[in-house]
Symmetry: C2
Subunit: 142 residues, 2 copies
DNA sequence: TATTTTTGCTTGCATTTTACAAGTGCAAAT
DNA sequence: ATTTGCACTTGTAAAATGCAAGCAAAAATA
Protein backbone atom coordinates (compact mmCIF):
# COMPACT_ATOMS: atom_id res chain seq x y z
CA UNK A 1 0.00 0.00 0.00
CA UNK A 2 1.21 3.46 -0.76
CA UNK A 3 2.02 6.08 1.82
CA UNK A 4 0.83 9.60 1.34
CA UNK A 5 4.04 11.36 2.16
CA UNK A 6 6.00 13.44 -0.30
CA UNK A 7 9.73 13.04 -0.35
CA UNK A 8 10.21 16.68 -1.31
CA UNK A 9 8.51 19.74 -2.73
CA UNK A 10 9.79 18.94 -6.20
CA UNK A 11 6.93 18.29 -8.62
CA UNK A 12 8.80 15.50 -10.40
CA UNK A 13 9.36 13.79 -7.09
CA UNK A 14 5.75 14.32 -6.01
CA UNK A 15 4.51 12.91 -9.29
CA UNK A 16 6.70 9.85 -8.87
CA UNK A 17 5.30 9.46 -5.37
CA UNK A 18 1.90 9.06 -7.02
CA UNK A 19 2.64 6.82 -9.98
CA UNK A 20 6.35 6.20 -10.14
CA UNK A 21 5.98 2.47 -10.44
CA UNK A 22 5.77 -0.12 -13.17
CA UNK A 23 1.99 -0.41 -13.26
CA UNK A 24 -0.01 2.75 -12.63
CA UNK A 25 0.77 4.36 -15.94
CA UNK A 26 -0.21 1.18 -17.78
CA UNK A 27 -3.67 1.36 -16.23
CA UNK A 28 -3.92 4.97 -17.36
CA UNK A 29 -2.72 3.95 -20.81
CA UNK A 30 -5.45 1.30 -20.97
CA UNK A 31 -8.08 3.83 -19.92
CA UNK A 32 -6.96 6.41 -22.48
CA UNK A 33 -5.98 4.38 -25.52
CA UNK A 34 -7.63 1.01 -25.27
CA UNK A 35 -11.11 1.76 -23.97
CA UNK A 36 -10.64 -0.50 -21.01
CA UNK A 37 -12.66 0.36 -17.96
CA UNK A 38 -13.26 -2.65 -15.77
CA UNK A 39 -11.08 -4.59 -13.38
CA UNK A 40 -11.28 -7.58 -15.69
CA UNK A 41 -10.21 -5.47 -18.67
CA UNK A 42 -7.04 -4.35 -16.93
CA UNK A 43 -6.21 -7.90 -15.88
CA UNK A 44 -6.39 -9.03 -19.48
CA UNK A 45 -3.66 -6.62 -20.61
CA UNK A 46 -0.54 -8.07 -22.13
CA UNK A 47 1.67 -7.24 -19.16
CA UNK A 48 -0.28 -9.51 -16.81
CA UNK A 49 -0.63 -7.45 -13.69
CA UNK A 50 -1.26 -9.43 -10.49
CA UNK A 51 -4.75 -9.08 -9.04
CA UNK A 52 -3.64 -7.68 -5.70
CA UNK A 53 -1.35 -5.13 -7.34
CA UNK A 54 -4.15 -4.03 -9.64
CA UNK A 55 -6.51 -3.55 -6.71
CA UNK A 56 -3.88 -1.61 -4.82
CA UNK A 57 -3.03 0.63 -7.80
CA UNK A 58 -6.67 1.36 -8.56
CA UNK A 59 -7.21 2.30 -4.95
CA UNK A 60 -4.22 4.62 -5.05
CA UNK A 61 -5.24 6.24 -8.32
CA UNK A 62 -8.71 6.77 -6.91
CA UNK A 63 -7.33 8.35 -3.74
CA UNK A 64 -5.20 10.69 -5.82
CA UNK A 65 -8.23 11.73 -7.82
CA UNK A 66 -6.96 10.30 -11.10
CA UNK A 67 -9.63 7.66 -11.57
CA UNK A 68 -13.20 7.33 -10.39
CA UNK A 69 -15.37 4.31 -9.74
CA UNK A 70 -18.82 4.47 -11.28
CA UNK A 71 -21.72 2.09 -11.59
CA UNK A 72 -21.44 0.01 -14.69
CA UNK A 73 -24.47 0.44 -16.94
CA UNK A 74 -24.53 -3.25 -17.86
CA UNK A 75 -24.42 -4.88 -14.46
CA UNK A 76 -24.20 -4.23 -10.76
CA UNK A 77 -21.54 -6.89 -10.52
CA UNK A 78 -19.24 -4.72 -12.61
CA UNK A 79 -17.42 -1.54 -11.69
CA UNK A 80 -16.75 1.13 -14.30
CA UNK A 81 -13.44 2.87 -13.88
CA UNK A 82 -13.06 6.23 -15.59
CA UNK A 83 -10.44 8.94 -15.68
CA UNK A 84 -11.12 12.25 -14.00
CA UNK A 85 -10.00 15.45 -15.73
CA UNK A 86 -6.82 15.17 -13.66
CA UNK A 87 -6.28 11.75 -15.18
CA UNK A 88 -7.15 12.82 -18.70
CA UNK A 89 -4.58 15.57 -18.36
CA UNK A 90 -1.86 12.96 -18.13
CA UNK A 91 -2.27 12.33 -21.85
CA UNK A 92 0.49 14.77 -22.92
CA UNK A 93 2.94 12.95 -20.67
CA UNK A 94 2.01 9.65 -22.25
CA UNK A 95 2.38 11.17 -25.70
CA UNK A 96 5.88 12.40 -24.97
CA UNK A 97 6.79 8.93 -23.75
CA UNK A 98 5.46 7.55 -27.03
CA UNK A 99 7.47 10.11 -29.01
CA UNK A 100 10.64 9.29 -27.12
CA UNK A 101 10.04 5.58 -27.53
CA UNK A 102 9.53 5.94 -31.22
CA UNK A 103 13.01 7.40 -31.51
CA UNK A 104 14.76 4.79 -29.42
CA UNK A 105 12.74 1.57 -29.54
CA UNK A 106 11.34 -0.53 -32.31
CA UNK A 107 7.61 -0.35 -32.06
CA UNK A 108 4.67 -2.33 -33.43
CA UNK A 109 3.39 -0.83 -36.68
CA UNK A 110 -0.13 -0.09 -35.51
CA UNK A 111 1.14 1.87 -32.54
CA UNK A 112 3.62 3.67 -34.74
CA UNK A 113 0.78 4.86 -36.92
CA UNK A 114 -1.05 6.34 -33.97
CA UNK A 115 2.06 8.05 -32.71
CA UNK A 116 2.60 9.59 -36.10
CA UNK A 117 -0.93 10.86 -36.12
CA UNK A 118 -0.45 12.36 -32.67
CA UNK A 119 2.84 13.93 -33.61
CA UNK A 120 1.48 15.61 -36.70
CA UNK A 121 -1.00 17.61 -34.73
CA UNK A 122 -0.52 17.11 -31.06
CA UNK A 123 -2.89 19.80 -29.84
CA UNK A 124 -5.71 18.50 -32.00
CA UNK A 125 -5.00 14.90 -31.02
CA UNK A 126 -5.11 15.75 -27.32
CA UNK A 127 -8.30 17.73 -27.78
CA UNK A 128 -10.08 14.97 -29.63
CA UNK A 129 -9.14 12.25 -27.16
CA UNK A 130 -10.02 14.47 -24.24
CA UNK A 131 -13.41 15.12 -25.75
CA UNK A 132 -14.00 11.43 -26.26
CA UNK A 133 -13.04 10.53 -22.70
CA UNK A 134 -15.07 13.32 -21.18
CA UNK A 135 -18.02 12.43 -23.32
CA UNK A 136 -17.90 8.89 -22.08
CA UNK A 137 -17.68 10.09 -18.51
CA UNK A 138 -20.63 12.48 -18.75
CA UNK A 139 -22.66 9.93 -20.60
CA UNK A 140 -22.48 7.51 -17.71
CA UNK A 141 -22.93 10.04 -14.94
CA UNK A 142 -26.17 11.52 -16.23
CA UNK B 1 19.05 -5.12 -9.67
CA UNK B 2 17.01 -4.70 -12.80
CA UNK B 3 16.24 -7.40 -15.27
CA UNK B 4 16.49 -6.70 -18.95
CA UNK B 5 13.24 -8.26 -20.02
CA UNK B 6 10.37 -6.35 -21.52
CA UNK B 7 6.93 -7.18 -20.28
CA UNK B 8 5.40 -6.40 -23.66
CA UNK B 9 5.94 -4.66 -26.97
CA UNK B 10 4.13 -1.57 -25.71
CA UNK B 11 6.42 1.46 -25.65
CA UNK B 12 4.91 2.77 -22.42
CA UNK B 13 5.53 -0.56 -20.78
CA UNK B 14 9.07 -0.76 -22.17
CA UNK B 15 9.82 2.73 -20.94
CA UNK B 16 8.55 1.83 -17.49
CA UNK B 17 10.77 -1.23 -17.59
CA UNK B 18 13.71 1.19 -17.90
CA UNK B 19 12.86 3.91 -15.41
CA UNK B 20 9.45 3.17 -13.95
CA UNK B 21 10.64 3.59 -10.39
CA UNK B 22 10.79 6.33 -7.81
CA UNK B 23 14.42 7.32 -8.39
CA UNK B 24 15.71 7.13 -11.97
CA UNK B 25 13.83 10.17 -13.20
CA UNK B 26 15.07 12.21 -10.25
CA UNK B 27 18.65 11.54 -11.30
CA UNK B 28 17.77 12.64 -14.80
CA UNK B 29 16.08 15.74 -13.39
CA UNK B 30 19.24 16.56 -11.45
CA UNK B 31 21.37 16.14 -14.55
CA UNK B 32 19.12 18.31 -16.68
CA UNK B 33 17.96 21.07 -14.36
CA UNK B 34 20.38 21.25 -11.46
CA UNK B 35 23.80 20.82 -13.07
CA UNK B 36 24.55 17.83 -10.90
CA UNK B 37 26.98 15.34 -12.34
CA UNK B 38 28.73 13.37 -9.66
CA UNK B 39 27.71 10.58 -7.36
CA UNK B 40 28.06 12.91 -4.41
CA UNK B 41 25.87 15.53 -6.07
CA UNK B 42 23.02 13.07 -6.51
CA UNK B 43 23.34 11.89 -2.91
CA UNK B 44 22.91 15.45 -1.69
CA UNK B 45 19.51 15.86 -3.34
CA UNK B 46 16.56 16.62 -1.15
CA UNK B 47 14.97 13.21 -1.57
CA UNK B 48 17.87 11.38 0.09
CA UNK B 49 18.45 8.41 -2.15
CA UNK B 50 20.28 5.49 -0.51
CA UNK B 51 23.82 4.89 -1.75
CA UNK B 52 23.21 1.36 -2.97
CA UNK B 53 20.07 2.41 -4.84
CA UNK B 54 21.91 5.29 -6.46
CA UNK B 55 24.70 2.99 -7.60
CA UNK B 56 22.19 0.52 -8.97
CA UNK B 57 20.18 3.19 -10.82
CA UNK B 58 23.26 4.80 -12.33
CA UNK B 59 24.39 1.40 -13.53
CA UNK B 60 21.00 0.77 -15.07
CA UNK B 61 20.82 4.17 -16.75
CA UNK B 62 24.29 3.60 -18.14
CA UNK B 63 23.34 0.18 -19.49
CA UNK B 64 20.31 1.68 -21.18
CA UNK B 65 22.48 4.33 -22.81
CA UNK B 66 20.84 7.22 -20.99
CA UNK B 67 23.88 8.35 -19.01
CA UNK B 68 27.60 8.03 -19.59
CA UNK B 69 30.51 7.96 -17.19
CA UNK B 70 33.38 10.27 -18.10
CA UNK B 71 36.61 11.30 -16.46
CA UNK B 72 36.09 14.27 -14.24
CA UNK B 73 38.30 17.18 -15.26
CA UNK B 74 39.00 18.13 -11.65
CA UNK B 75 40.07 14.84 -10.15
CA UNK B 76 40.58 11.17 -10.85
CA UNK B 77 38.72 10.33 -7.68
CA UNK B 78 35.57 11.81 -9.18
CA UNK B 79 33.35 10.44 -11.91
CA UNK B 80 31.50 12.75 -14.23
CA UNK B 81 28.06 11.55 -15.16
CA UNK B 82 26.52 13.07 -18.26
CA UNK B 83 23.37 12.52 -20.27
CA UNK B 84 23.62 11.01 -23.71
CA UNK B 85 21.41 12.37 -26.47
CA UNK B 86 18.96 9.61 -25.56
CA UNK B 87 18.92 11.02 -22.05
CA UNK B 88 18.66 14.63 -23.14
CA UNK B 89 15.67 13.66 -25.24
CA UNK B 90 13.77 12.82 -22.06
CA UNK B 91 13.44 16.54 -21.39
CA UNK B 92 10.02 16.90 -23.06
CA UNK B 93 8.65 14.15 -20.83
CA UNK B 94 9.94 15.94 -17.75
CA UNK B 95 8.45 19.18 -19.00
CA UNK B 96 5.03 17.64 -19.43
CA UNK B 97 5.25 16.28 -15.89
CA UNK B 98 6.05 19.79 -14.70
CA UNK B 99 3.11 21.21 -16.64
CA UNK B 100 0.75 18.64 -15.19
CA UNK B 101 2.11 19.22 -11.70
CA UNK B 102 1.65 22.93 -12.00
CA UNK B 103 -2.03 22.38 -12.62
CA UNK B 104 -2.59 19.96 -9.75
CA UNK B 105 0.04 20.59 -7.08
CA UNK B 106 1.20 23.63 -5.25
CA UNK B 107 4.75 24.26 -6.30
CA UNK B 108 7.70 26.31 -4.98
CA UNK B 109 7.80 29.74 -6.59
CA UNK B 110 11.22 29.44 -8.20
CA UNK B 111 10.24 26.22 -9.94
CA UNK B 112 6.96 27.77 -11.00
CA UNK B 113 8.86 30.54 -12.72
CA UNK B 114 10.93 28.10 -14.72
CA UNK B 115 7.86 26.11 -15.71
CA UNK B 116 6.20 29.27 -16.91
CA UNK B 117 9.24 30.09 -18.99
CA UNK B 118 9.22 26.61 -20.50
CA UNK B 119 5.52 26.73 -21.21
CA UNK B 120 5.69 30.05 -23.01
CA UNK B 121 8.03 28.71 -25.63
CA UNK B 122 8.52 25.03 -25.21
CA UNK B 123 10.42 24.38 -28.43
CA UNK B 124 12.88 27.16 -27.71
CA UNK B 125 13.29 26.07 -24.10
CA UNK B 126 14.05 22.50 -25.11
CA UNK B 127 16.48 23.67 -27.75
CA UNK B 128 18.38 25.92 -25.40
CA UNK B 129 18.72 23.33 -22.63
CA UNK B 130 19.69 20.68 -25.16
CA UNK B 131 22.39 22.93 -26.50
CA UNK B 132 23.70 23.61 -23.03
CA UNK B 133 23.83 19.94 -22.08
CA UNK B 134 25.46 18.90 -25.34
CA UNK B 135 27.95 21.69 -25.05
CA UNK B 136 28.96 20.49 -21.64
CA UNK B 137 29.30 16.95 -22.93
CA UNK B 138 31.47 17.85 -25.91
CA UNK B 139 33.54 20.21 -23.81
CA UNK B 140 34.61 17.38 -21.55
CA UNK B 141 35.12 14.78 -24.23
CA UNK B 142 37.51 16.81 -26.32
C1' DT C 1 56.33 11.74 3.94
C1' DA C 2 52.64 10.24 6.92
C1' DT C 3 47.96 10.87 8.08
C1' DT C 4 43.39 12.29 7.40
C1' DT C 5 39.59 13.28 4.37
C1' DT C 6 36.97 12.83 0.19
C1' DT C 7 34.88 10.11 -3.32
C1' DG C 8 32.51 6.38 -5.26
C1' DC C 9 31.11 2.78 -4.41
C1' DT C 10 29.95 -2.49 -1.96
C1' DT C 11 28.16 -5.47 1.73
C1' DG C 12 25.00 -7.21 5.24
C1' DC C 13 20.71 -7.22 7.14
C1' DA C 14 15.92 -5.66 8.47
C1' DT C 15 11.77 -3.94 6.38
C1' DT C 16 8.69 -3.20 2.63
C1' DT C 17 6.84 -4.30 -1.77
C1' DT C 18 5.75 -7.51 -5.31
C1' DA C 19 4.42 -11.95 -7.51
C1' DC C 20 1.87 -15.98 -7.60
C1' DA C 21 -1.81 -19.05 -6.13
C1' DA C 22 -5.83 -19.69 -3.93
C1' DG C 23 -10.06 -18.29 -1.88
C1' DT C 24 -14.38 -15.28 -0.88
C1' DG C 25 -18.78 -12.91 -1.50
C1' DC C 26 -22.15 -10.95 -4.38
C1' DA C 27 -24.64 -10.72 -8.95
C1' DA C 28 -26.22 -12.77 -12.92
C1' DA C 29 -27.02 -16.41 -16.00
C1' DT C 30 -28.60 -21.35 -16.67
C1' DA D 1 -31.05 -24.30 -7.26
C1' DT D 2 -26.59 -24.38 -9.10
C1' DT D 3 -23.02 -22.73 -11.71
C1' DT D 4 -20.42 -19.02 -13.66
C1' DG D 5 -18.50 -14.31 -13.82
C1' DC D 6 -16.74 -10.40 -11.58
C1' DA D 7 -14.18 -7.72 -8.26
C1' DC D 8 -11.70 -8.21 -5.18
C1' DT D 9 -8.87 -10.30 -0.46
C1' DT D 10 -5.63 -13.31 1.81
C1' DG D 11 -1.38 -16.00 2.54
C1' DT D 12 3.18 -16.68 1.58
C1' DA D 13 7.57 -16.77 -0.92
C1' DA D 14 10.67 -13.89 -3.57
C1' DA D 15 12.54 -9.57 -4.72
C1' DA D 16 13.47 -4.73 -4.06
C1' DT D 17 14.41 -1.09 -0.90
C1' DG D 18 16.32 1.43 3.12
C1' DC D 19 19.79 1.94 6.49
C1' DA D 20 24.27 1.57 8.54
C1' DA D 21 28.74 0.29 8.09
C1' DG D 22 32.87 -0.72 5.54
C1' DC D 23 36.42 -0.23 1.88
C1' DA D 24 39.94 1.08 -1.66
C1' DA D 25 41.91 4.70 -4.37
C1' DA D 26 42.85 9.54 -4.81
C1' DA D 27 43.45 14.10 -2.87
C1' DA D 28 44.20 17.25 0.70
C1' DT D 29 46.46 18.30 4.91
C1' DA D 30 50.00 18.20 8.50
Amino acid sequence: MKKNKNRSECPISSTLDLFGDKWSLLIIRDLIFFNKNTYGDFLKSEEKIATNILASRLKGLEEYGIVEKLEHPDSKAKVLYTLTQKGIDLLPILLEIYFWSEKYFSIPAEIKARIKEARQNKAQFVKSITKELRGRLLNVQK
